[in-house]
């Protein structure tokens, strides 16, 4: 499961809308080992394409060096699809190089309603996961948001119905 602050979810969707019809891309860093997405880092899509995204290599190094200095790792890696569903494509799967990250995909194909879904992509295997925004939990229930993706066996949320067709922020 991915737990993230509502403000960061909104920021990702806003970025995707702003870059549409090009794909938007970026990440959210968090302290190593905590699975807590905290620091929102939008990236330039060096490909500037409606069907492809790629971080500028020089920018990527700066960001990765800074995360190293701050004891962070990429917790969320996000990008948008501008004409297709919010699901990892073959290329997304083939190029997923951060096995510990939550891969968030936003679809901006519908101008009224953004789709926001999250996945783990490990060794070519895609597992969709629930997305929970901070504030969804009643008091006393999973406050730390520490129900890590590993606790949810693949297949528990086959419909991926949490996060599909969310209202526009």
């Amino acid at each position: 499961m991915l737990t993230l602050p509502g403000a960061l979810r909104a920021a990702i969707i806003a970025h995707a809308r702003a870059d549409h019809p090009d794909e938007a891309c970026g990440l959210i860093a968090g302290p190593e080992g905590t699975d807590q997405p905290q620091r929102y880092i939008p990236m330039t899509n060096a490909a500037r394409s409606p069907t492809f995204h790629e971080y500028d290599p020089a920018e990527q190094l700066k960001v990765w060096n800074e995360m190293e200095r701050r004891g962070e790792e990429p917790v969320v890696i996000y990008h948008s699809h501008t004409a297709t569903e919010a699901y990892p494509s073959r290329t997304d799967i083939a190029l997923a190089g951060e096995p510990g990250a939550h891969y968030v995909i936003v679809s901006t194909r519908d101008p009224e309603q953004a789709e926001f879904r999250s996945f783990r992509i490990v060794d070519g295997t895609v597992t969709e996961e629930e997305v929970r925004t901070a504030g969804d939990d009643p008091p006393g229930d999973d406050l730390a948001g520490d129900d890590l993706a590993g606790d949810d066996p693949a297949g528990d949320d086959p419909a991926g119905d949490d996060g599909v067709a969310v209202p526009e922020e």
């Binding site: 394409s49 790629e54 290599p57 990527q60 494509s89 290329t91 190029l95 190089g97 951060e98 096995p99």
Partner: protein
């Protein structure tokens, strides 16, 4: 002669989990071959028939080696080489 080679998470299975390894060589190509001799399989993840793999970023002292001669980039003792898989994808 020691050159530090920083290894990304996804390639640390080749280095027993190590975040960086040391190697030697006068060019990036010879450095990669040297590191591969102790961490077999690593070279194949970095290099293909056409040279450095398309979606693997390699930096020499924070500069993209694509601008320094690629595999022929000269390296020396005290240099740091960083490898990062490109973050990229498409709609198909």
């Amino acid at each position: 002669m020691a050159i530090e080679v920083r290894i990304p998470t996804i390639l640390r299975n080749y280095t027993g989990g190590a975040k960086s390894v040391e190697g030697s060589g006068s060019t990036l190509a010879s450095l990669i071959a040297d590191v591969d001799s102790r961490h077999s399989g690593l070279a194949e993840r970095l290099v293909d028939d056409g040279g450095l793999r398309r979606f693997v970023n390699v930096y020499l002292n924070d500069e993209d080696v694509r601008f320094l001669g690629g595999l022929e980039a000269p390296v020396k003792d005290g240099d740091t080489v960083t490898v990062l898989p490109a973050v990229a994808g498409g709609q198909s």
